[in-house]
């Protein structure tokens, strides 16, 4: 099996910004993404935000370069404004050109 290394970026965010976030992630160079629903607690105590809908969990497998770009955009445009949390994990994928 011919495999390569990529980075999985996971973002938890309040649902009102889903569209903005997806646009930014694609602009950073992600070739695909998946979105699911979660609820949770963190520092900003998102409970008041529940009325606008539960949080989303966005996952995108990208190259290291794109991962860094996404983290930078999150830091610039989201971290100090919205209830957003993100982390990056190294992953192995089978079809290099898809990510």
């Amino acid at each position: 099996m011919n495999t390569v290394n990529r980075q999985l970026v996971t973002v938890i965010a309040e649902s009102v910004i889903e569209q903005k976030l997806v646009d930014d992630v694609k602009n950073c160079g992600a070739k695909g993404y998946s979105v699911g629903h979660v609820r949770g607690e963190g520092q900003t105590g998102g409970r008041a935000l529940d009325i606008t809908g539960s949080s989303i969990r966005l996952e995108t497998v990208v190259t290291e370069e794109v991962a860094e770009r996404i983290l930078r955009v999150l830091a610039e445009k989201y971290f100090d404004r919205y209830a957003v949390v993100a982390w990056v994990t190294p992953v192995v994928v089978a079809r290099p050109n898809r990510f």
């Binding site: 009102v16 910004i17 569209q19 409970r47 008041a48 935000l49 009325i51 404004r81 919205y82």
Partner: protein, 318 residues
């Protein structure tokens, strides 16, 4: 007789459902409706309000509509300005928070609107059927005005996309879709759908208010941290805006019921369209403030005390 009239005002199914759910939740009983039901019920209510209003619109002449429409426009501009001024000066809130709160008080609550209609129906007071059209207008304008007040504090992109969010968003879009369906199809051809959209309406409203009671109770718990100023303003602003709404309705030539509805619209605070728009356009405003004010204070106040007052006021001046 006063007792009877109080009972008439307060012992309706929606209101009792709201209060029972609110108290149960404060006592930590789990009466929350299933997660999937909330959006279903709100979709139903918006469409049904729209369809009902649309049928009435089809029977109105354009001439009848100008006055009320202008009145709604005026209220949509003035009520958020009043809320903004009060929150800024009396409440001493930051400009961004004051604008965020103003967006909520400038916009309207479709459920509060629905409760006043049901109450008028129960007390057999007539009202203009096309008020649902004004609901759609008022829901938007107040938010626009308030976001304009804070345009400097808003993201460049946020301002625009927040407007788009409101105008094209579910709550306006479903209401307007309902209005169109009602107006185009007309009452007669819609008769087969009445068991769903009319017959179930009061029951669905009661069900929805169970969920609202739960949510309001959760907001009430935050009141300690948001302070007493917010509570007082969350009661004063709807009273002021309600009086203004009643007077404007009177000037626009509405019937007693119509004046009560206009007062309620002006007094009510949005908790669906406004939070979403404000969150996008004014991310730095504190959501605890505006959601607690709108949902934890003003919504229960209007439901229990406000609406009877607005109806009494309408009867007094018409």
């Amino acid at each position: 007789m006063i007792a009877v009239s109080l009972a008439d005002n307060l012992l309706t199914a929606p209101l009792v459902a709201f209060v029972v759910a609110l108290i149960a939740t404060l006592l930590r009983f789990e009466v929350r409706l299933p997660e999937a039901l909330y959006p279903i019920l709100s979709t139903f209510l918006l469409l049904a309000i729209g369809i009902k209003g649309g049928k009435a619109l089809a029977d109105s002449s354009i001439g009848d509509l100008w006055g009320p429409l202008l009145a709604a426009l005026a209220l949509g501009i003035v009520t958020p300005l009043i809320a903004f001024a009060a929150m800024r000066t009396l409440g001493r809130f930051h400009v961004v928070d004051a604008a965020a709160l103003a967006a909520h008080y400038g916009s309207v609550s479709a459920v509060t609107f629905t409760v006043v209609l049901t109450t008028l129906d129960a007390r057999e007071i007539g009202f203009e059927g096309y008020m649902a059209g004004l609901l759609a207008v008022l829901e938007i304008i107040g938010i626009v005005v308030a976001l304009f007040l804070a345009r400097k504090s808003s993201d460049g992109s946020g301002w625009k996309s927040a407007l788009g969010e409101v105008v094209r968003g579910r709550s306006i879009a479903l209401l307007v879709a309902g209005l169109l369906i009602g107006a185009i199809v007309g009452a007669e051809r819609l008769a087969p759908t009445d068991p769903l959209f009319s017959g179930l309406f009061p029951g669905v409203l009661a069900l929805f208010l169970i969920e609202m009671g739960v949510t309001a109770a959760e907001r009430l718990r935050d009141i300690r941290s948001t302070g007493v100023r917010l509570v007082l303003l969350g009661i004063a602003i709807p009273l002021v805006n309600g009086v203004l709404g009643a007077l404007t309705g009177k000037v626009a030539g509405l019937s007693t019921g119509g004046i009560a509805v206009m007062a309620t619209l002006a007094a009510s605070a949005s908790y669906i369209a406004a939070p979403a728009a404000v969150r996008i356009a004014l991310p730095k405003a504190n959501p605890s403030l505006y959601i607690t004010a709108s949902l934890g204070v003003t919504f229960p106040f209007n439901l229990t005390v406000g609406i009877p007052i607005y109806i009494a006021l309408a009867q007094a001046i018409s």
